[in-house]
Amino acid sequence: MTGWIRQMTIGREASMRRILVAVTAFALIGAACTAGGDEGPASPTDANASHEPVTIEIWGAWTGRELKQFNAIFDNFTAQYPWITVESVGAVDDPKIIAAINSGTPPAAVLSFGLDSVGKFCQSGAWQDLTPFIERDGYDLSQFPDAVFKYTSFGGSQCALPFLTDAYGLYYNLDKFENARLSGPPKTISELTDYAKQLTEFNPDGSIKVMGLVPFSGYYETNSVTLSIPFGAKWYSEDGTTSAVDTDPQWKAIADWQKELVDFYGGPEAVTKFVAQQGDEFSSSNDFETGRVAMNIDGEWRTAFIENEVPDLNYMTAPIPVPDDMADSYGVGQIGGTIIGIPKGSPDPESAWLLVSWMASDTDTLVYMANNVRNVPTTTAALESPDLEVTPQFQTFLDIFANPSSHYKETSAIGSLDQDLVGGFLEKWQQGKVTDLQAGLDQVAEQINAELAQASGP
């Protein structure tokens, strides 16, 4: 080996050692790098005292028309807190917010549609526990219906506040009801099944022209969560440590109800063909708006879409029917919507708290947003406000939200994974690919439990 090559080799080995050391250091620094902890709140902010002007950012998932309407609320906030200017950034989803928190550059406040991530946000401290602010300022939590706490807190941490909510109910076409000589909405599952059959119209070739109700999980807003609430199906055991999918008989009831309707329509393939022709959910080609389905499970926002896109549609709304042996619970439904909070590492938590607490409780703001975006306001005062524009169809969703039994599914440390597992199973079931229903539910529960165990760690 010549000196030149030896020198190259020695140099390369030394360089390699240096590179390895540097890379290891990088990795360790990266691993250890998380945004630092946040100190508790200082004394309450006096709005009448003089303050240095500040500009804070709020990131959220609103887009398009709704973002414009959302951005209009901050003038009122600045009127109340003149030293704070709010800059709203739209179209920001949860992964982007998480990336900003990890890099230590989050905005002052955040808004999310990701209810399923509340468990992780609260548990990890990525969204700050607001309890110290709430206790310090004596912030009145009784202004919110109890149901909102199920999707704004987790493990004792109140890391979010509600800012409007969704509620899910049954839309039904009154003209089709009249043609089928049906009056009033179905209130029990057996009535729903019966109505769906009577409202279904077939083409001469046997294919489905109008479906009474699509029972497929995965069709628009019909899914494991929206079905589980009216059916009373529990996701977890009382202590939240194990899945209840295998033990709660209501999951079997959901599956049996699906199968009965699918069989009536001519089997999975007939329904699949019908579903394949569905129009875009958030456009005027939505199946309920075009009359392809006589009844459909949907959120309260559909009333605004119908008002804009097919104002002549003769329809009404009602709570989703409940099992016959649970008729007393009629009126219950899935609720849960937008959440707001203060991320870990917020550059100005005090101003952010003023903003978040104001957004969550300012009646005029909530009523303005409810009237424009057509979501359900989340405080008792806003719900009772005379300025809230309420149509009979929208009133249904206010009633569902006001129902003390309405709730969002139990949150957990595995986020939306449980829904995906159950949804995936229902997909197979509704296609007739599951021969032993209970064994299938057992398997799903086992997978959820394994995920829970993995999330909690050794």
């Binding site: 540097a22 890379v23 691993a31 998480i98 939306s416």
Partner: protein, 326 residues
């Protein structure tokens, strides 16, 4: 070993005598010129790889500090995660079927394109153009084209008398074939390489085969295939890597058709490919430690397959200048 000459400096005496360059390697200059690549390599390749390897041994949800759990992620993957095996099965299918069909189709198309004497440039452009389409746009177009109800393909099949046309992206038995058709439509990138390979086969070999009385199949089997075997090998290796990383088309078609809260990979998990599953774990469920473990398994398997391909290539790949890999 002799000291290699420094490029550009002639030995012996020249007309103009220049000062003798230093024999010492100009390390500072070397490092300076290498630094743009080296910094990029360290920051964007080495650092993420080392970090993800570390994360694969941790419970890391992107929000909390990573917690060391040893091999638990790997144990969970191989013993408790049913969707891992489903994604492996789907990915092996797309690698085995999708890549093979794509290569065969590319060879067939390229062979056809060597024949026309008129308008050859037009034909080549026409076949190549689809490969330029952005994958998301192409996938969306195929979601429409293959729609069982109003898609033109099924309407064509119905009018041709097919009583029960496929449900394509709405049925697990046909969804992957829909993606294969999408891949064949965009086969231009592979086709153009095969076309170059085919045009590079020496004419005299065919002439010799003709003299020996060989038929078209014998000429293809004994002349064309061996001569384009390096191109097949290249397409196979890149195709397998492409198959293991199959993502965009599957993600788009499954999420467009599943409008509500259903699992990725709709219908019934048939489009849950490995990379889609990895993405879902990391960015939907925030299980970044687990996603890192999945990524490392993918890396190791892809690397192993590539090495096996290279090792076995000496048996069937023929280079005009001799062996390439030893």
């Amino acid at each position: 070993m002799a000291t290699p000459p420094i490029a550009g400096v002639a030995r012996g005496t020249g007309a103009v005598r220049r000062s003798r360059p230093s024999r010492r390697t100009p390390w500072r200059l070397v490092i300076l010129f290498l630094s743009p690549w080296a910094i990029g390599f360290l920051v964007f390749i080495v650092y993420p790889m080392v970090t993800s390897l570390y994360f694969s041994f941790t419970h890391y949800d992107l929000l909390s500090t990573p917690r060391w759990i040893g091999l638990d992620n790997y144990k969970f993957m191989f013993t408790k995660d049913a969707f891992f095996w489903l994604s492996v099965k789907n990915t092996v299918w797309i690698v085995a079927v999708g890549v093979s069909v794509r290569i065969l189709f590319a060879i067939a198309t390229a062979t056809l394109l060597t024949r026309p004497r008129r308008g050859i440039k037009g034909y080549r452009t026409m076949f190549f153009l689809p490969s330029m389409a952005p994958p998301v746009a192409a996938a969306l177009a195929f979601v429409y084209l293959l729609n069982p109800a109003f898609g033109p393909l099924n309407q064509l099949l119905s009018s041709a008398g097919v009583a029960d046309p496929p449900l394509w992206f709405f049925s697990p038995s046909t969804s992957k074939w829909g993606l294969v058709i999408l891949g064949l439509w965009g086969v231009g990138d592979a086709m153009i390489i095969f076309l170059a390979g085919l045009l590079d086969v020496p004419r005299q070999l065919y002439e010799a085969a003709d003299i020996e009385g060989a038929g078209p199949w014998q000429k293809f089997r004994s002349v064309t295939l061996p001569m384009i075997s390096p191109v097949i090998f290249f397409s196979l290796v890149t195709g397998i890597i492409w198959g293991f990383q199959y993502f965009t088309q599957a993600y788009v078609t499954s999420t467009v058709n599943a409008t509500s809260k259903t699992s990725l990979g709709y219908p019934e998990g048939s489009l849950l490919f490995y990379s889609v599953y990895l993405y879902q774990q990391g960015f939907s469920y925030f299980k970044m430690g687990y996603a890192s473990a999945l990524a490392w398994v993918l890396f190791v398997v892809t690397m192993a397959c590539t090495l096996v391909m290279i090792r076995t290539s000496r048996r069937w790949v023929h280079y005009q200048g001799g062996e390439m890999f030893r």
